[in-house]
């Protein structure tokens, strides 16, 4: 069992495509799980995040200044949707230019925590996206995954095994 990259059909705009990771064990996407985990405690923040994703999808594209960059390893594209210092949630993504973003998971960033490494939940979610980014990069290098239609579309082998080796 593993995961696959899926395009979220709820976002029908053309400025940037919104993808997520479908986890075959959870039978859910990481974005759905993030919403379900946080909608009760932080409903207004979830609504705000979804509104911003819709604007990115339909109007602005995934401009880099809408994200907190460099949340992963250098050059791996792992970032987080910008969160205000006084907000409670962090949502990790992998951004491929202005045209495509893969939404991952996230969680609560408690006030006493300065970096994701200090939070078990955020560390797990960030590390997962770092691992996924590595796997995607490897397949891009091997031309198993390609970007099409001006970088708005991912094609190729988008299904992965969790224990797949990364060389």
């Amino acid at each position: 069992m593993g995961f696959k990259i899926v395009r979220l059909a709820n976002f029908i705009g053309e400025e940037a495509s919104i993808y997520s990771i479908f986890d075959e064990i959870d039978d859910s996407t990481l974005l759905d799980r993030f919403i379900k985990e946080n909608i009760v405690a932080f409903k207004s923040e979830i609504l705000d995040i979804v509104k911003r994703l819709k604007t990115i999808n339909t109007i602005t594209g995934a401009k880099e200044y809408f994200f907190k960059l460099d949340e992963g390893l250098p050059g791996d594209g792992v970032c987080a949707l910008y969160d205000n210092p006084d907000s409670h949630l962090r949502l990790y993504c992998i951004r491929y230019g202005n045209s495509l973003v893969i939404i991952g998971g996230g969680g609560e960033k408690r006030k006493e925590i300065r970096t994701w490494q200090e939070s078990e939940k955020l560390a797990k979610e960030a590390n997962r996206m770092i691992g996924i980014s590595k796997k995607i990069t490897l397949r891009i290098k091997e031309r198993e995954i390609e970007f099409e239609e001006n970088g708005t579309k991912l094609t190729g082998n988008l299904e992965f095994y969790e224990d797949e080796e990364i060389s």
């Binding site: 709820n10 979804v50 604007t55 200044y65 991912l154």
Partner: protein, 131 residues
């Protein structure tokens, strides 16, 4: 031809979308477009985030927040940013009202002792009314 990503329709997202009014979405759209307009002006004027922060007397993190598309600007702040970047972020020009245009057809008749002037208003749809 390579296989496209599978499309996934999320019912969870549908439920969230249902809670967002069109007006709330337009506000989010506006904030993010405003951020994009500020960034584009910074780029075209070659003004860095640090430089804008210095000119505005703010920390660089404040500019990051402004550009995030989440900030609710005051009119004063937009006025100051617009002044530095040379762009109009607040449009206070009155929109012109639709002008009222009337056309009249003036006829002067002179037949001996019976001189008269007749004025006929020509309506916009082309029909004519007696005054």
């Amino acid at each position: 031809m390579k296989k496209s990503a599978e499309k996934y329709h999320s019912e969870v997202l549908d439920e969230v979308f249902a809670e967002i009014t069109p007006e709330e979405q337009r506000k989010a759209d506006y904030r993010m477009q405003l951020a994009a307009k500020i960034f584009d002006a910074m780029k075209s004027k070659n003004i860095s985030k640090l430089e804008l922060a210095r000119k505005m007397g703010k920390q660089a993190s404040v500019i990051t927040k402004w550009l995030s598309g989440t900030h609710n600007f005051t009119a004063d702040t937009l006025f100051e940013i617009g002044g530095i970047l040379g762009i109009q972020l607040l449009n206070i020009v009155r929109e012109d009202m639709n002008p009222v245009v009337s056309h009249y057809h003036l006829m002067v008749s002179d037949s001996g002792d019976n001189q008269y002037i007749a004025v006929k208003k020509i309506e916009n749809d082309g029909s004519q009314n007696q005054p």
